[in-house]
């Protein structure tokens, strides 16, 4: 009846886990059937136990130990006498591996004598569908941990595109790259969404291709994703669009200009995540690309704020360099030639004068 309780409590999920575990543990249970095997394997497992015990101190990464106290009905005795058939005491919530681990650790302290292997009985080993055969604490602990790890590795492999190798190291490598790219992509897209003033001029200064490349790579990493924008993007070849002279209709677009408060946050968010992008060790072009994108976006913000006649917006930016860039450019002495400024910021010369006035007065 205790068996039924557990089963009701856990439902199908547990059964599946149990089965997957059971299949792997089957060899142990088979081994354990003969006395000889028990002795040999018992010794082997205790070696593992000692080794694992050592390893705990070396590894920084430890198995998860969640401190959940609500599953109180699991009063487990971890030690199974050989001929003991199923009782409620030996049932485990396999769903909750950390609990399992925790209990093992606790019991380790409580009963130091019982470190050795305990073996499942024949009766228990036959009944895999309903409960897990108890095996050595440490090897099963490690086995469970490895199972969890491999499950998560598999999930990650499915999530991360173009991940064809199945070894842990490459999966982790690709995950890290992919996460960085996703973060970058999100930042770029949010900037694009909030700031309409990404002028052609800055892009034309050689940053254009990098920005597009960044977006291309970001999108190229999602070949399976069906976003509405993806049909617009050629993944591999980037034809540089013709530099069309856009005149910015200043007055009409002012309503479209977002409150400056949002953009500094985006940019500060960018700044925060850019240090992590710089250890893009696998891709030196990536680092270069990211810095250029960063500069592009900063400049676009500056330009946007200039168009809105609001140099104060620059002060809101937590990047002190950004403020001085605009100020330096416009108030340099000897002054930069007007057409340089005009072309850089795509503003008319009247605007340049106005901005100069403003910045001069601020000084």
């Amino acid at each position: 009846m205790v068996l039924l309780n557990n089963q009701d409590f856990m439902g199908l999920e547990w059964t599946n886990d149990v089965e997957s575990l059971a299949l792997k543990d089957q060899d142990i249970s088979v081994r354990a059937r003969s006395d000889e095997d028990r002795i040999t394997n018992g010794l082997k497992w205790s070696d593992d136990y000692f080794y694992y015990h050592q390893a705990n101190f070396h590894l920084q990464i430890v198995p998860e130990n969640r401190k959940e106290e609500e599953n109180s009905e699991k009063d487990l005795t971890l030690v199974v006498p050989d001929e003991h058939s199923e009782t409620g005491d030996h049932h485990l919530h396999i769903k909750d591996y950390s609990e399992y681990n925790r209990r093992f650790l606790r019991n380790k302290h409580a009963k130091p004598k019982r470190r050795r292997v305990q073996i499942l009985s024949d009766d228990e080993s036959e009944d895999f569908s309903r409960k897990v055969p108890l095996v050595t604490r440490k090897s099963s602990k490690r086995r469970i941990r490895d199972d969890m790890m491999s499950n998560k590795m598999r999930t990650l492999q499915q999530l991360v595109p173009n991940c064809h190798k199945t070894d842990k190291v490459s999966v982790l490598d690709k995950t890290i790259e992919y996460m960085k790219n996703l973060q970058l992509q999100l930042q770029v897209m949010s900037i694009m969404g909030t700031n309409p003033y990404i002028p052609q001029a800055t892009l034309d200064f050689g940053m254009h291709n990098q920005l597009l490349t960044a977006m291309g790579i970001a999108h190229g990493l999602n070949p399976a994703k069906q976003t509405t924008l993806s049909p617009l993007i050629a993944a591999s070849n980037w034809p540089s669009p013709p530099f069309s002279n856009l005149s910015f209709p200043h007055s009409s677009n002012q309503s479209l200009f977002p409150p400056p408060a949002s953009s500094p946050q985006c940019l500060c968010g960018l700044v925060r995540c850019f240090p992590t992008f710089f250890d893009f060790s696998s891709n030196t072009m990536g680092a270069l690309m990211n810095s250029r994108i960063f500069i592009t976006i900063v400049l676009s913000y500056i330009i946007g704020s200039i168009h809105a006649y609001d140099p104060d917006a620059l002060q809101d930016l937590c990047l002190p360099g950004a403020v001085s860039v605009a100020a330096t450019l416009f108030t340099a002495e000897p002054a930069l030639s007007e057409d340089v400024l005009t072309k850089t910021f795509q503003v008319k010369s009247k605007m340049v004068d106005k901005i100069k006035e403003r910045l001069a007065t601020k000084k």
């Binding site: 070696d47 080794y51 390893a55 070396h58 590894l59 920084q60 990464i61 430890v62 198995p63 998860e64 130990n65 941990r145 790890m149 998560k152 590795m153 999930t155 990650l156 999530l159 991360v160 070894d167 842990k168 190291v169 982790l172 490598d173 995950t175 890290i176 996460m179 960085k180 996703l182 973060q183 992509q185 999100l186 897209m189 694009m192 969404g193 309409p196 990404i198 002028p199 052609q200 892009l203 597009l212 977006m215 999602n222 994703k225 976003t227 509405t228 924008l229 993806s230 617009l232 993007i233 669009p241 069309s244 856009l246 005149s247 910015f248 209709p249 009409s252 677009n253 992590t276 060790s281």
Partner: protein, 93 residues
């Protein structure tokens, strides 16, 4: 990346060497994740399975955000006929 030190243990071989690598990678991943409760508890130990779990959920969240933003950008493209739309279009095509 990291130096591969081989440990002297009973189970020597390639598995121990890549164990270090995996540890480093998991730590790196942990740094990338948005940390919500970690400012207080900054122990030296990181649970690998927790990191992986959080990575999965984070990647899913990021993908969802990308989709939302793409949706929004495409709406912007369609709705406005201004220079803004032309800009976005020229950026993407």
């Amino acid at each position: 990346m990291s130096s591969r030190r081989s440990r002297s243990s009973r189970q020597t071989g390639t598995s121990m060497i890549s164990e270090d690598q995996i540890n480093d990678l998991v730590l790196q991943l942990h740094r990338l994740l948005p940390e919500l409760g970690n400012n207080n508890r900054r122990s030296g130990k990181v649970s690998a399975s927790k990191v992986l779990q959080e990575t999965c959920t984070y990647i899913r969240n990021l993908n969802k955000e990308v989709d939302d933003l793409s949706e929004r950008l495409s709406q912007l493209l369609e709705s406005t006929d201004s220079a803004q739309a032309a800009l976005i279009r020229s950026l993407l095509m």
